[in-house]
């Protein structure tokens, strides 16, 4: 990977341009624009030639790493391969060229797609209806909690303001609850990594709005007591929210609706192959059980505006391109083949886990689902940390796993290979991970100073956090 760090503005040269347009033979006027709205200085656009622009962006793209470049075992992110046919279909002119303000009567095909995708997601999850509006997983969580809150308020049950969140939860769960104006209460995990049901019982009363759960949880472990938990939470009048971040191993096998969940979101940009990373675009549709259908937010596929609805969560109906790619993915696999994704993702994760557990510390040694967590190297005497292992992986051309999450362990390394990787890729990764463990013992300083082969070495994250340089002009 060659190093390239220019900004397009640094390439700018006074008077240079890509095209010179012929004189249009008419005069431009800005008379109709009020004086206060007129620009007083030129906009300062970069002045560059066409080959400079092409080389600039091509060089920048060469610095990127994605699923199309190599193995990307980023735990909790389900970085599966995105079939290129998804892009072809999402790029069809009839879909790509529409405008969100077009009347519904002119986009019947699009409305059919919304309906069909919702039905497919209902069949996969066991929910009764979906809103496709939320733009990301966290947006879905907020939408789901707004539905939960609206449900209690509409029943006149005003004191339900507490949301129970496991200590292993994704950080977005408590954050979404707080943004929704709800109070977060933490339920502890047992040593085996699952929810402490006895502790949960002590938290349940008539102030509980609901519980947010991920199943399998962030340790990749299936919460086997989910039916008991559902009975307990429903018994005290609360609702169950399913964080769909870890839906991949359950695809077509187990349905959150059947486990007792009332509200859930799906990360289409994880489970349904539409590519993500780098902040989007995403899609976090929210599904609800039958009794919560009136609470689905605006704008709705059915065009209705019931009094109970949770309000408007977006201007328009979702990131349509992402929805299309998920729909293409579902149709391409079909009812039978979509059931293969979960078992293969689970097999791949367990294969890596079992192949490495002698040189990395496996805190909970049981069958995992789509992902699992190591607690650093098995040999703690080398002083080599999880961060060092992750940095060294970059030298070997792999994307690093998720590190220091979940917070239950001090040296978490969270590995999720997904079902789209071959045995050869998994073996190559295992071999490198074993090699790094050997290097940590033989030459710890070399691992601690990794990466050595990348264009950017180890940035000073602490200095960046303590003294951030936020403006380009402030760069030394």
């Amino acid at each position: 990977m060659k190093y390239y760090d220019k900004l397009i503005f640094e390439l700018s040269c006074e008077g240079r341009c890509g095209y010179t347009l012929p004189d249009a033979d008419w005069a431009q006027t800005s008379d109709s624009i009020p004086d206060g709205l007129k620009r007083s200085a030129a906009p300062g656009l970069p002045q560059v030639s066409e080959p400079e622009v092409v080389r600039h962006y091509t060089n920048l793209s060469d610095m990127n790493f994605g699923v199309d470049t190599g193995f990307y075992p980023l735990g909790s992110c389900t970085m599966k391969y995105n079939p290129k046919i998804n892009e072809e279909i999402a790029g069809m002119p009839g879909f790509k060229g529409i405008h969100p303000l077009q009347p519904r009567s002119t986009v019947r095909g699009v409305m059919k797609l919304y309906g069909d995708l919702s039905s497919a997601l209902c069949a996969i999850t066991g929910m009764a209806g979906f809103t496709l509006n939320p733009f990301a997983g966290a947006h879905g969580e907020l939408t789901g909690l707004m539905i939960m809150r609206r449900y209690h308020i509409c029943r006149g049950d005003m004191k339900r303001t507490r949301v129970i969140v496991p200590d292993s939860a994704h950080g977005t769960n408590p954050a979404s609850a707080a943004v929704c104006g709800l109070d977060v209460v933490q339920v502890n995990s047992l040593p085996d990594g699952t929810i402490d049901v006895d502790h949960l019982k002590t938290l349940l009363d008539d102030t509980v709005a609901g519980i947010m759960m991920t199943n399998p949880n962030t340790l990749g472990l299936f919460e086997t007591r989910i039916e008991e938990i559902a009975d307990l939470v429903h018994g005290c009048g609360g609702l169950l929210y399913y964080d769909g971040a870890n839906m991949n191993p359950l695809l077509g096998v187990v349905r959150p609706g059947d486990m007792g969940f009332d509200i859930m979101h799906l990360n289409l940009h994880k489970t349904f192959s539409t590519p993500h990373g780098g902040g989007g675009p995403g899609a976090g549709p929210v599904g609800v059980a039958e009794h919560l259908l009136p609470y689905l937010p605006l704008p709705r596929i059915d065009g209705e505006k019931p009094d109970e609805c949770a309000g408007r969560v977006s201007g328009f109906m979702g990131n349509f391109g992402v929805l299309m790619k998920a729909y293409a993915y579902i149709l391409m696999l079909g009812r039978q083949n979509i059931r293969m994704a979960g078992p293969l993702a689970t097999l791949n994760a367990n294969y890596i886990k079992e192949s490495l557990k002698d040189c990395y510390r496996l805190p909970i040694d049981k069958v995992c689902k789509h992902e699992f967590v190591f607690d650093g190297l098995a040999d703690k005497s080398t002083g080599v940390t999880t961060l060092d292992v992750a940095k060294r992986l970059l030298d070997y051309g792999f994307h690093a796993p998720t590190v220091y999450f979940p917070l239950l362990f001090h040296q978490s390394i969270m590995i999720e290979p997904t079902e789209t990787e071959s045995r050869e890729t998994l073996d190559a990764f295992i071999e490198v991970m074993r090699k790094i463990a050997e290097e940590a013992a033989a030459d710890p300083d070399m691992v601690r100073s990794a990466p050595h082969n990348t264009s950017v070495r180890r940035p000073d994250e602490t200095a960046a956090a303590r003294h951030p340089v936020l403006k380009y002009r402030d760069l030394a």
Binding site: Y404, L407, H410, E461, T462, A465, R466
Partner: protein, 127 residues
């Protein structure tokens, strides 16, 4: 092995307390700063704020994680360590020399629930 200091009291959420009459001085332990890694920000209460035993009174952020601070005692904040605002790294350098808040205790008997140095050392071994 994390450092501890004799004569201090310790909480299960890794805060230390030093008692002088009715005033409790509170900081985080070496175990805590080590687990968090390089700290980038300390969020502290205001003077005169009320704090409650077992409830959060602030937070520390590092490049790895953000973590709430839990008050080991109840009472009124009489002083905060303003030096930490611009130099949170002091907690990494010497967590026992750099306190975070001083609290005028409303119920000094709450100190009985805290651990002494020996108990805290064995508590950390299990963490």
């Amino acid at each position: 092995m994390s450092k501890t200091v004799a004569g201090l009291l310790y909480s299960e959420s890794h805060e230390w307390v030093s008692v002088d009459g009715n005033i409790a001085t509170v900081g985080i332990t070496d175990f805590a700063q080590h687990a968090l890694g390089n700290l980038s920000y300390v969020d502290m209460p205001e003077t005169d704020d009320e704090v409650t035993k077992g409830e959060e009174f602030g937070a520390v952020e590092s490049v790895k994680a953000a973590s709430d601070l839990y008050s080991p005692v109840s009472g009124k904040v009489v002083e905060t360590n303003s030096e930490l605002e611009d130099a949170p790294e002091r907690l990494n350098v010497d967590p026992y020399a750099n306190w975070i808040i001083r609290v005028e205790m409303s119920d000094p008997s709450e100190l009985d629930d805290l651990m002494d140095e020996a108990a805290y050392i064995s508590f950390c071994e299990k963490e």
